[in-house]
């Protein structure tokens, strides 16, 4: 049947085209892009956390987050999506103390990620805010996105 042939041809072409393009170009998910996104995001959320707790004088600048990310230990190249990214965030906490937190990061191919922090540094999933209400802790776990082009 001509129909079946046409369809087979179309599918074949699509497979061939995607196959040929596989691996072409630069990867979307890189260590550099992730580091540039996670640091400021963490800082912003940490400020938000401080606001909820009624702590004043905490700014993105005072948090001063610096990030170093690594995927799956030294043997795995630091590119590509996966649940095995670890980002070390060095920052100044709400008591003015320098801290190093190890954040587990799940990076998706669509240039978004979910990061979760250590509760001994940033608290539990729920906070009691300055009004005495239980609210989610913004830095406990968060969604973020980064630009896959720059």
């Amino acid at each position: 049947m001509t129909r079946t042939r046409t369809l087979a041809l179309a599918i074949g072409l699509a497979v061939a085209a995607s196959g040929a393009l596989t691996g072409c170009g630069q990867p979307d998910v890189t260590k550099d892009r992730l580091e540039r996104a996670i640091g400021p995001t963490f800082a912003g959320l940490y400020v938000h956390r401080a606001d909820l707790l009624g702590e004043h004088g905490i700014t993105v600048r005072s948090v001063g987050a610096v990030t170093a990310c690594d995927r799956g230990g030294p043997k795995v190249p630091d590119v590509g999506p996966g649940p095995d990214w670890i980002c070390m965030i060095h920052f100044t906490d709400d008591h003015g103390q320098p801290q190093d937190g190890k954040f587990e990061v799940q990076v998706r191919a669509d240039a978004t990620y979910i990061a979760g922090g250590p509760s001994k540094l940033i608290g539990q999933a729920t906070l009691t805010d300055s009004h005495g209400q239980d609210v989610p802790n913004p830095v406990f776990e968060w969604d973020g996105a980064f630009d896959p082009d720059h």
Partner: protein, 284 residues
């Protein structure tokens, strides 16, 4: 079968325009239970979904799922992220995958192609009907989801995707813009469904296969091995709204998504058109 017979001498007939054909395609569509149900569903189902999720624990594995109780602006984004996995391809295919193939199913190609309209006119009338209908469904879906979310959850500030809080006044245009980015890939899926239904002549395949292809593309795209080639997938443009919600918004993926969707649209429609033009109508 009595009475007289019409007089002979046919006047030089003025051929009907494509607008007339379009009007009748819309009439046929409006007479279908499926399309009416789809329009009603596009309004009612989001209301139910929002109400149900409002009583559930936040689904944290989908983006914005964790915020659905804290911001009414997060809910439509969560619904959008969930819907593009397979709901939007399905909605795009339900009418588009059927509008050509149901003529095969009813055996009515010969009925309409032996009148005074060309296959080209029929093709464009059907294509425009499917496109118009799918845009309407998308608009209704978005409007219903956004309205219900704001009424049920409230208009609290929206958490952005780089740690910032987006004030309520700015959040609504961003949410609407995020839904608007789905227009291009939905039209791409519309064209894909049209192509598959024209070629297979089977409404079931026309509706189901774009959804299956969408899920395959989603799966392939999530693996990460494709790198830049991932952007050629028709599912990738569904994700480009993420860039609108960061502190420094990036629009390049949106632009790429529109171009890629347009590419799929043009290629699928061109093949479908040539196929329909050349095809022998043997059934019915």
């Amino acid at each position: 079968m009595t009475a007289a017979v019409p007089a002979v001498a046919p006047a030089a007939r003025r051929r009907p325009g494509t607008a007339t054909v379009l009007r009748w395609e819309a009439t046929k569509l409006a007479a279908q239970v499926r399309s009416r149900a789809l329009l009603i569903g596009a309004v009612v189902v989001p209301i139910a979904v929002v109400l149900i999720f409002n009583t559930q624990l936040p689904p944290k594995d989908t983006i914005y799922g964790r915020h659905i109780h804290t911001s009414g602006y997060a809910v439509p984004l969560f619904v959008l992220a969930f819907a593009h996995q397979w709901v939007l391809p399905l909605l795009a295919a339900l009418v588009a995958g059927d509008i050509f193939a149901n003529e095969d199913q009813h055996g009515t190609w010969k009925t309409i192609l032996t009148r005074s309209v060309s296959r080209t006119q029929i093709f464009w009338a059907k294509t425009l009907t499917a496109v118009g209908f799918n845009l309407l469904v998308l608009v209704l879906l978005a409007a219903s989801t956004i309205t219900t979310s704001l009424l049920v959850v409230g208009s609290q500030p929206l958490p952005g995707l780089s740690g910032q809080l987006i004030p309520a006044g700015h959040a609504l245009p961003l949410v609407i813009a995020s839904w608007a980015t789905a227009v291009a890939p939905v039209l791409g899926f519309t064209a894909l469904a049209i192509l598959l239904s024209v070629v297979t002549r089977n409404p079931t395949i026309g509706v189901a296969s774009p959804v299956v292809l969408g899920m395959i593309m989603q799966l392939v795209g999530s693996l990460g091995g494709l790198n830049k080639a991932r952007r050629l997938l028709l599912t990738t443009p569904f994700e480009t709204w993420h860039g609108l919600l960061t502190a420094h918004p990036f629009h390049a993926p949106v632009t790429t998504g529109v171009i890629v969707s347009a590419g799929w649209l043009v290629v699928c429609l061109a093949i479908a058109y040539l196929y329909l033009r050349r095809r022998d109508i043997t059934g019915g």
